[in-house]
Symmetry: C2
Subunit: 525 residues, 2 copies
C-alpha cells in the first residue's frame, strides 16, 4: 500500500475499467473481494465497498461477462496526518459499454456568495463555473447575526438547509451548463470560513464568536453528499477544508494552498479583504495569520451609500485632476444604486490625488461630501456620495490593515521590503484597482511585479485539492506551521494603528510610489 | 499509534472518563479535537466521531464542566490484515454523574436457532443468554429452500428482515433479563454460515449454491446496527465473521477460534455435525476444512419420525441388553413427538450393542423396525420408530463423515492416532451421547481424555472476539492458513465411503474400544 505522497495529480474521484478473471474451482473468491483486489492492484490503497452496492454486484458482473467500469473516491483522515491514511471507496459501477466521466465540484461557500466549479476529473478540465447568493442572507447579511439566530437545534438545521440549498443552486447551474446529471458528481471539495463550515455541517456556532473562540470542529474531512443534503451522487465524498480556529478558516487555508506561498523560501503576504479581512505572512518554514474586521467599511450597511458588488454598483470612479469632474462605471452598466468596496477605494484614492481630501481624510474647501452620482442619474433618486464620516470609517479600516501587517512583520522580524510576493485574494479583487488600494495605503507599496491577483483563492484552492489529492499533504504542512496572532493582545497594534490614520500612512517612506505621485500632483498645482 | 497486537483482552466497546482542560486563549482547539485528542492519548489509535454526535457535544461539555463519559467502539478493516488498521469511533457520551456499562452481544445466527449472549464488556462478565427459532424457518426449514426463495431484491430484503427480527427477539430477551435498554448495547459480533451471513446483509445468495460456489462477500467486517436493522444503539459496531467460501462460514471460523486448535502444535480435529456437517483438521501451521451434508439423516424430514431437538423430542434411548426393553427420555419430559439426532444415534448404538441390528445396519430376527415409543404413549398417536431405511440413511451419513475424515487425514499425511484433540462442536452436542456416536462410528474412537465438548462453538468464538479484539489477529491467521478440500474431487473419497458402510466401520482396528465392547457383548451371549 502506498503513501499519499505517491499520488501526485490524482483527482479525488476516478473511473477504472476492470476485466476480472471469472471464478472457478481454483479461485472462488467472493465477488466483492474479486473487485476490491483488482482495484487495489491498480491503485495500491485499501478499498472498501458500501453494502448498498453489493446487492447489485453479482448480477452486474455476470451480465457484463466480468467487465465493469468502477468509480472510486479517495479519502483520508485526519486532516493533519494524511500521509499513511489514504483509502478508497467504490461509489458506483456501470456496464462496460460506455465509460463514465468522474465529475467533481469545487465550492467556495462564502457568507455572501457561493461559487462553484465543475471539473472533469479525468482530463482535469474546468468545464463550468457558477455562483449564487448564499440563501442564508435571508437570515442575516453578516455572519454574526446568523450565529445569534442559530440558538436552537432547529435553527441550526435551518441554516444547514439554507447552506446546502445554496450549494445545490450552484450545482444545478453547473450540471445544466454541461448537460450532465447531478448524480454524475462523485466528489466535492468545499472551502468556507469556520462559521460557514459549521453552518453547512449543522453544528452549533455560538462558541465561535465567544471568548476563547472555540469551534466545535477543526477537521471535518469527509462527509457523504447524502448526509449534508447535497445534490450529487449520494455516496459522493465531500471534503470540507479544516480550520485552525474561529478566525482562520478553510477559505484562508485554501487561499494559502492556491498562492503556493507555503512552498517558497521567500517571504509572501496574502491579503483577503472580504467581510472579515485576513492576512497571512510567511514562507515554507513559518506562517503567521491574523484577522480583523477589515471588511465592514467596504460593504453595504456601514458606508452611507455602500452596497455589495452586484449589478448597479459603482465599482470604479475617476476624478479629473483639474476640473474635478467625477466619472464612474457600474457593474453591468446599470443605473447606479450604490457604491461597492472597489468603488469606495478608487473614489477616495481619486479624491486624495485630486486634492478634494487631505491626507487625514478631511474634506478641503468646506466640502461635506463627495458626490459620485448626482440624484438625477441615480437609480435610487438620491445622490450616491461619500460623507466625511464614510471616509473616516475607511481610514480606520485601512489603519487596522496597516497595523495588522506591521504587527505580523514585527513578530517575524521582517519589514515591508522583504515582501517578495504580495497575493491579493478575494472576489473583492475582481473589480479592485490595486493602484488605488496602494494609494490610500490599504495595500503595501511593493514593486508591482511582486503583486499577484489571485481572485477567489478559496475556490482555487478547493479546485486544486479536488484535482490533486497529494495537496492534502501540503495542507497538513500548512496546518502544522500556521500560527494565529491575536491583535488584541499586541501592545504594538495600537501604536501601528494610530500611525496608519493618514492616507496612505503617517510615514510616507513606507509608500515611496505614493509619495512620488503626491509630490508630482502638488507640484502640478 | 499502536498495532492491534497490543490490545489483548480489549473488548470491542469501552467507556472512558474524560476530564478535559478548559479551552483558553493559549489552547482553543475545537471541542471535537479536544475530546478526540484526549481519547487518542488513552487508547493510542485514531479516533473518529460521527457528525450526529457533534451537535450536542459543545453544550454537553460546558454543562458538565468539561467532564464526560465517552463510549467508543473499535473497528478494523480488512478482516485478513487487521494488524495496523485498528481505529476507534465515538458511539455516545454521557454526563459524569453515572458511569455507563459498555454492553455487547455475541450472536450465533444459526439456520434453525439464533442464540445470543449479553456481555458486560467492562468486567468481561456474561450477564444473560437467550435463544429463539430463526424466523426464516417460515420461508423454509433448510437453507437451500431459502436461497431458492430469495430470487428478487424484495425477497432478499424480506429474508434480511426476518434474520434481523430473529436477532432482535434474542436481544429483547437478553435486555429484559437484565433490565437494560437495547440502546445500551454498543457492540456485537455475529457468526453464521455463509448463507446466513448473506441473508442478514440482504445480499443475493444464489451463487453460494451454484458451481463454482462464489459468495458475494468474504469479509463483511463492520456494519452499523442501524444499517442492519438491529435493536441496539444505532451506531453500535456490528462485526460479522468472515467466510472462506460457501462451505466454510463464519460459524466454522468462530468454532476454530473457540477451540484454540489453530494455536496448538499437536493435531486437532473439530467436528460440527449440524445441518451441514463440517470438519476441520489441523494445527498452528495448517488447517484443512471439509463439509458435506452430514446432517439431514439426523434431523426432521429425512428420518421417518425425526424432528429437531425441541420439547417432546426423544433425545436419549436405552435398550436392556437382555430383555431388549427400550427406555427413553424426552426434552422437557413431555410426551414424545419424534426423535432428534442424539436420540437416533443412541438408539442405533443401543440396537447394535443389544444385537437388534447387525454391523451392516440390518435388522436381525425378521424385525422391520425398532419401536422406541409405542403409539399408546406417543403424543402423535403413532409409534415413534426407526425403520431399516432410516438406519440405512444414518449409515450413509456416518460413512460420509468417515470418508471426509479419512480423506483429510490422507491429504495431511496423518492417521487417527495422531489426533491429539477432538473437539465436538454444535448445539447438537448438548444432548449427544459421545460414546454412542463413537459406537456407531460417527465420531473417531480416540482416547476419551482427548475429547472436548465445545457446545455452541460458533457462539463461543463470537463471544471471544467481542471480549478481546486481538482475537482478530488470530482470525486473520486462520484465514491465511485454512484450505478447503473439495470431497467430490477426491478419488479416495468413494473408497473411504464404501469402507464406512458398516457400524462402526469395515476396519474394526480403527475403533478399538468399540471392537472390545462388541466382543464382550458377543461373549456374554
Amino acid at each position: 500500500m502506498k503513501a499519499l505522497s505517491n499520488y501526485k495529480n490524482k483527482p479525488l474521484s476516478e473511473v477504472y475499467h476492470l476485466q476480472l478473471s471469472k471464478p472457478n474451482q481454483g479461485d472462488n473468491r467472493a465477488d466483492v473481494e474479486r473487485v476490491v483486489a483488482a482495484l487495489q492492484e491498480k491503485i495500491q490503497v485499501p478499498v472498501t465497498m458500501p453494502l448498498e452496492l453489493m446487492y447489485e454486484l453479482p448480477s452486474a458482473l455476470r451480465r457484463n461477462n466480468w467487465q465493469l467500469f468502477v468509480t472510486i473516491n479517495y479519502n483520508w483522515f485526519p486532516a493533519n496526518r494524511p500521509e499513511h491514511h489514504l483509502q478508497a471507496q467504490v461509489v458506483s459501477f456501470s456496464a462496460p459499454q460506455s465509460q463514465p466521466v468522474p465529475y467533481g465540484v469545487a465550492v467556495d461557500l462564502g457568507s455572501t456568495t457561493v461559487s462553484g466549479q465543475l471539473w472533469d476529473l479525468n482530463s482535469h478540465q474546468l468545464v463550468a463555473e457558477a455562483a449564487c447568493l448564499n440563501e442564508q442572507v435571508s437570515i442575516g447579511e453578516d455572519i454574526l447575526s446568523r450565529i445569534f439566530y442559530a440558538d436552537t437545534p432547529e435553527k441550526q438545521k435551518h441554516l444547514q438547509q439554507l447552506a446546502a440549498a445554496s450549494v445545490n443552486r450552484v450545482i444545478t447551474d453547473l450540471v445544466q451548463a454541461c448537460k450532465i446529471k447531478a448524480t454524475d458528481i462523485t466528489a466535492a471539495v468545499i472551502s468556507g470560513n469556520t462559521s460557514m463550515t459549521h453552518f453547512l455541517l449543522g453544528l452549533p456556532p455560538q462558541n465561535i464568536c465567544r471568548s476563547p473562540y472555540t469551534p466545535v470542529l477543526n477537521n471535518p474531512c469527509f462527509q457523504t453528499a447524502e448526509k449534508l443534503g447535497l445534490s450529487m451522487h449520494p455516496s459522493a465524498a465531500v471534503y470540507l477544508l479544516p480550520n485552525v480556529g474561529s478566525y482562520v478558516g478553510g477559505d484562508v487555508l485554501a487561499g494559502i494552498l492556491a498562492s503556493g506561498m507555503h512552498r517558497k523560501q521567500e517571504i509572501s503576504l496574502l491579503v483577503d479583504i472580504g467581510t472579515n479581512g485576513e492576512m497571512i505572512l510567511g514562507n515554507k518554514e513559518w506562517l503567521l495569520a491574523a484577522a480583523g474586521a477589515a471588511g465592514p467599511a467596504l460593504e453595504g450597511g456601514v458606508v452611507t451609500c455602500g452596497m455589495r458588488a452586484k449589478p448597479g454598483a459603482v465599482y470604479s470612479v475617476q476624478i479629473d485632476r483639474n476640473s474635478r469632474q467625477v466619472s464612474y462605471r457600474t457593474i453591468d452598466n446599470l443605473p447606479a444604486k450604490g457604491i461597492c468596496g472597489s468603488g469606495i477605494i478608487e473614489a477616495v484614492s481619486e479624491a486624495l490625488m485630486s486634492g478634494i481630501i487631505n491626507r487625514r481624510g478631511q474634506f478641503r474647501e468646506g466640502r461635506t461630501s463627495l458626490v459620485i452620482v448626482p440624484k438625477e442619474k441615480s437609480a435610487t433618486k438620491m445622490p450616491i456620495q461619500l460623507t466625511a464620516n464614510d471616509i473616516a470609517k475607511l481610514l480606520r479600516t485601512k489603519a487596522a490593515a496597516n497595523a495588522i501587517l506591521a504587527t505580523l512583520l514585527d513578530q517575524a522580524g521582517y519589514d515591508l521590503t522583504d515582501l517578495n510576493h504580495f497575493y491579493v485574494a478575494g472576489a473583492f479583487g475582481n473589480y479592485l484597482n490595486v493602484e488605488a488600494a496602494i494609494t490610500i495605503g490599504l495595500y503595501p507599496d511593493v514593486p508591482r511585479q511582486r503583486i499577484e491577483i489571485l481572485g477567489n483563492s478559496s475556490l482555487k484552492g478547493a479546485g486544486l485539492l479536488l484535482n490533486d489529492i497529494s495537496k492534502a499533504l501540503e495542507l497538513a504542512e500548512i496546518l502544522k506551521k500556521i500560527a494565529y496572532v491575536e491583535m488584541n493582545d499586541s501592545a504594538d497594534f495600537m501604536k501601528h494603528f494610530t500611525a496608519g490614520l493618514f492616507f496612505p500612512h503617517t510615514d510616507l517612506n513606507l509608500f515611496p510610489t505614493v509619495r512620488a505621485k503626491l509630490l508630482s500632483t502638488t507640484r502640478d498645482k
